[in-house]
Amino acid sequence: MIICPTFTEAVRSNAMSISVDEVKKIAHLARLGLDEQEAQGYADSLSQILGLIEQMNAVDTTGVSPMAHPLDMHLRLREDAPTESDQREKFQKVAPSTEAGLYLVPRVIE
């Protein structure tokens, strides 16, 4: 069994590296603001985590069908009938900014 100290070191020694620029690109895709110093920190920790993930390559999975869900279930269908009542006011009470039943965001069309 590969575990704790040895496992961790093995992971570190063959750590895949991920660059600061890649981190910035991923952060933008995920809409996460990062400053320069944070980007460096995440480059280090994400590289370590990717190193851990690379352990997956130890097993040949050719021909194995991917498992998306533990019960291999299909989504249920239901009657096309209303199940919810209108609770707009209640739900909008927790929104940061609303007006006339609409959610307000910064102007997107000039």
């Binding site: 069994m1 603001g33 352990q55 194995v64 998306a68």
Partner: protein, 484 residues
């Protein structure tokens, strides 16, 4: 009175030995006397006392169920109508939910009294409760130690008897690992057994709610109230729900316990190993048979999980955009900057790490190497269990590789933290039910958990095995000195 189990409290209420109002006040007082544990994010004394009054009326009228009037606490991941629901995050630090989770509704309908909401790792991402925006929870056995996570507040609260039971959720070990580290009983049911509706999503193909209690008997009572099909959860299992208490008293003669040899190798602390062997000896005395089984792909469960769970999380957490609910940054010039600042300020470091790992794994060019590969491994891991269960009725082993560690010890080292869940994660990947029960203490007096893993929807078997063990041991009755 505070040392009593849910079952004992229910019978004290039924015989009018105590009222729900008295019990509720007793636990509220204990919560306020042990604030240093930081186990609660919200204590809802007014509503609790009002609910206790309603319960007392029902009890007086003879209109009470098995759990009416018994106090409890919810992990702060469950939406509670009109009550702060933070998920341990700044993002939801002022979010008052406009609706109830199904689990909340069910336990409320059963007449239970909610004392408050327990602390947790942010969005349930963590194994030490140190990622909470509301600060770490302390382990009642030694306040310099972590309680485990992510349901650390629930585990600490039950261990210190600040509540007779609490709910938890388990995506990779978040019920079982803190239960082990705090010396309580924790059950993660089969995937789909308990509704996920209103349970704030982390990784939707893995998340499952369950009870955290003092005993297996209590876990059975609580699962009876929590389980069942729910049309509002698209992956809710359409399985018959048995009476989980009915099998508790059956003897376990002839049952086969499978020991995965991979769970007893390098990395397992000697004290934990010894306690697990001693627990197995008890099971043999009770008439069970022990056989060796193999889960050859179990060492890949952590790498596999750290692709799948972050991938699902990156998608689930995209909903926090500062538009419809939750935190919004105060300064921005346009919409994209509003999203980026809101999410930068609203999420903590571990949540951001996992969102980024997930985004990376799902991005064009990497999907096959990471996400697809992980899904294939998930199949292999699930098939390992299937083969093992051809040889045994239940699988047992340690819940965690070591006992509780010091606060701050691993918080700067994500990979070391992830390895805490080495024995629990594969159970979530397969979707099986798993349980942790107290099985002794290490040389420093820190609790050790025995893990039981069952076949799909066979929670009754796990509960029976745990209950029978608790009839011949008293680990589950021991209490930290500080709070006794």
């Amino acid at each position: 009175m505070y040392r009593k189990t849910v079952a004992e409290l229910a019978s004290a209420l039924a015989t009018k030995a105590v009222s729900s109002t008295e019990l509720t006040q007793l636990y509220l007082d204990r919560i306020s006397a042990h604030q240093e544990l930081n186990a609660f994010i919200t204590v809802d004394a007014d509503n609790a006392l009002a609910a206790a009054k309603v319960a007392d009326t029902r009890l007086a009228k003879g209109d009470a169920g098995a759990l009416t009037g018994v106090p409890m606490a919810h992990k702060d991941i469950f939406c509670t109508d009109g009550v702060l629901t933070t998920c341990g995050s700044r993002m939801l630090s002022e979010f008052v939910s406009p609706y109830n989770a199904t689990v909340v509704e069910k336990l409320h309908d059963a007449g239970m009294v909610m004392l408050g909401k327990t602390n947790m790792d942010e969005f349930a991402m963590g194994s030490s409760n140190e990622t909470s925006f509301f600060g770490p929870v302390k382990n009642p056995w030694d306040t310099t130690l972590v309680p485990g996570g992510s349901s650390g507040g629930s585990a600490a609260a039950v261990a210190a008897r600040l509540t007779p039971m609490a709910t938890g959720t388990d995506t990779g070990g978040s019920i079982r690992q803190p239960a082990a580290l705090c010396g309580i009983t924790g059950l993660k049911p089969s995937y789909g057994r308990v509704s996920r509706f209103g349970m704030i999503a982390f990784a939707s193909s893995l998340d499952q709610a369950g009870p955290m209690t003092q005993t297996a008997e209590d876990a059975a009572l609580l699962l009876n109230a929590m389980a069942g099909f729910d049309s509002r959860d698209s992956t809710s299992a359409q399985e018959e729900v048995p009476d989980f208490s009915s099998q508790l008293g059956h003897d376990i003669k002839g049952l086969k316990i499978g020991l995965p040899k991979e769970f007893f190798g390098e990395g397992l602390s000697a004290d934990v190993d010894k306690a697990i062997q001693a627990a197995l000896d008890e099971y043999k005395k009770l008439g069970a048979e022990v056989v060796e089984v193999s889960l050859p792909n179990s060492s890949l469960a952590i790498p596999c999980y750290y692709v799948l769970a972050p991938a699902e999380a990156s998608s689930n957490l995209s909903r926090y955009d500062g538009v419809r609910y939750g935190y919004r940054a105060s300064e921005y010039t346009d919409l994209v900057e509003m999203y980026e600042r809101t999410r930068a300020e609203g999420f903590g470091a571990e949540v951001k790490r996992r969102i980024m790992i997930g985004t990376y794994a799902l991005s064009a060019g990497y999907y096959d190497a990471y996400y697809l590969k992980a899904q294939q491994l998930r199949r292999l891991i699930a098939e390992d269990f299937k083969r093992a269960f051809e040889q045994c009725d239940v699988i047992m082993g340690p819940t965690a590789p070591s006992t509780a560690f010091a606060l701050g010890d691993k918080s700067e080292d994500p990979v070391a933290m992830y390895l805490n869940d080495i024995y629990t994660i594969s159970v979530n990947l397969a979707g099986l039910p798993g349980m942790s029960v107290p099985a002794g203490f290490d040389g420093n007096g820190r609790p050790i958990g025995l893990q039981l893993i069952g076949q799909y929807f066979d929670e009754a078997r796990l509960l029976q095995l745990a209950h029978q063990y608790q009839q011949v041991t008293d680990w589950h009755q021991q209490l930290p000195e500080e709070v006794a």
